[in-house]
């Protein structure tokens, strides 16, 4: 643990020099959900009220906050799945992908088919996918069972498959929702290491978590979200201290 911490401190210093170009700019963003329970009952819910920050290439941002703070909504905004009701999210041409994709899996199909399907859904051309296929399979550690139906996979194997696809395909910005959990302990270790590798390299990562240790370990900038508002952002230790003071 201690070693990892020093490593991340070094990392942060190293990254500071390298901080690259602006990829996504989030400006005074607000998202309001209208939940129609029935024709007569309407419920207004402000998931995000006023959120602003920038994402630069090469940095890894940790978004911390309690359940219902608006973390997941923020992720869907960054990935371009929804648009804000107020403010704007400007993407300067970066491809964004959520890590640990599993939703599109078709149970009757083989892991291999599902891999291609997910990759195509992410917008990668089939040719590129076929080149990367072996790499994804070997990273996932699924081995010979890749041609078995996903139905027969354990929850951990499914998670590994989803993780490996996004990992190998290398989008400009990788969104990681730690609250989703990835596979068994061994693979979690492996994926944490892979993440660390990515963070060391040029990979831009936005990591969502309610665990401050993960963010301290992996990120070089933190954003604390509370009830749809950015309470603090900037240097990891400062933000996390403020968060822990409030929450614990």
């Amino acid at each position: 643990m201690k070693i990892e911490n020093t490593e991340s401190v070094c990392l942060a210093g190293e990254k500071e020099k390298r901080k690259g170009k602006l990829l996504i700019s989030i400006r005074n963003v607000g998202v309001i959900y209208n939940r129609n329970r029935s024709i007569f009952k309407k419920k207004r819910f402000e998931a995000l009220k006023d959120v602003s920050f920038d994402i630069f290439s090469g940095e890894s941002i940790g978004v911390i906050g309690r359940n219902g703070a608006g973390k997941s909504t923020l992720m869907t905004l960054i990935s371009g799945i929804i648009k804000p009701d107020r403010g704007e999210v400007i993407n300067y041409g970066a491809s964004v992908s959520l890590l640990a994709l599993q939703a599109g899996f078709m149970n009757e199909l083989s892991g291999r088919d599902n891999m291609v399907l997910s990759g195509l859904a992410l917008g990668f051309p089939k040719k590129k996918l076929e080149e990367k296929l072996d790499e994804i399979i070997s990273f996932s550690g699924i081995g010979g069972r890749i041609d078995d139906a996903v139905r027969t996979y354990s929850a951990g194997m499914r998670a590994r498959l989803g993780f490996s696809i996004a990992h190998i395909l290398n989008p400009d910005i990788l969104l990681v929702d730690e609250t989703l959990g990835v596979g068994d302990r061994a693979f979690r270790q492996k994926s944490a290491n892979a993440m660390r590798e990515k963070i060391k390299s040029e990979q831009t990562v936005v990591l969502v978590s309610h665990n401050s240790n993960t963010i301290r370990d992996l990120c070089d900038r933190a954003v604390w979200l509370e009830k749809g508002i950015v309470m603090a952002s900037g240097e990891v230790d400062t933000v996390l201290k403020a968060y822990e003071k409030k929450v614990l």
Partner: protein, 251 residues
């Protein structure tokens, strides 16, 4: 158009859906053909043995109706729910939503073509083959456009008003009886014109004209039916495009 950029995903999904539907069962693809035959036997039993009512060529008459109607009803029921059913996926990544009803329509069309071709081969051996059969692609194309258009409409409405999917299943039962699958409505019938306002009834009539009677279809009706599908598809695809970022929030 969004669809073109995602053609590889669409084609792979169509293949994947067909595969996963067929490998689940022991008889696999055979079920596509067996299912309508089994239904035909049920209706045949009821109509011929129980209430002693039959039209000429009753088995062929029934099979054509069942197969063409099932194409419509299955596509509409599944395709109408397709955007809602993809909720988990479209909350995780951006995909043009029109993709989902399109995939369902293509899957069900391929199923229809397999079953229909089998039927045609059978009927050809029974001596029905005639030059009028060359007009069949026209009827099939008109029906495809109609189905696609109306499926897009439903797929766009159901995420906002999920209750509609219940109405659809009742509507399908009504349409099943109102499209002349089990009985023939002849032009001499005083209600004929009213009955034929239903595009499905008109389409089934055209199939039977071509296959069983060896005559050519009413091209103008086919143009109307296909054209209405094109209009629906064009309008609704624009609406779906406008709702692109709204849909992931509500499904």
């Amino acid at each position: 158009m969004g669809l073109w950029n995602y053609r590889e995903y669409i084609l792979y999904s169509v293949r994947a859906k067909l595969l996963s539907e067929t490998i689940r069962n022991h008889l696999g693809i055979l079920w596509m053909v067996l299912e309508p035959i089994m239904r035909m036997f049920v209706y045949y039993f009821v109509f011929v043995y129980l209430i002693h009512r039959r039209t000429e060529d009753f088995t062929s008459f029934l099979l054509i109706g069942i197969i063409a109607f099932t194409w419509f009803s299955k596509t509409l029921t599944q395709g109408g729910n397709s955007i809602s059913a993809s909720g988990r996926l479209i909350k995780q990544l951006y995909l043009p939503k029109i993709i989902f009803p399109t995939i369902t329509s293509l899957v069900r069309t391929i199923e229809f073509l397999v079953v229909f071709l089998t039927l045609l081969i059978y009927l050809a051996t029974q001596g029905y083959l005639s030059v009028s059969w060359t007009a069949l692609p026209g009827v099939i194309f008109a029906q495809f456009l109609f189905i696609y258009g109306i499926t897009l409409v439903m797929a766009c409405i159901i995420p906002f008003i999920p209750d509609i999917s219940y109405i659809i299943s009742s509507l399908m039962t009504a349409l099943f009886f109102l499209s002349g699958i089990l009985f023939e409505v002849k032009p001499s019938n005083p209600k004929y014109d009213l009955f034929m306002l239903n595009p499905l009834a008109k389409l089934l009539e055209q199939y039977r004209l071509i296959i069983l009677q060896g005559s050519f279809p009413e091209w103008l009706s086919l143009v109307y039916i296909g054209g209405s599908g094109v209009v629906m598809a064009l309008v609704v695809s624009q609406i779906i495009k406008k709702l692109e970022f709204q849909l992931p929030r509500i499904v």
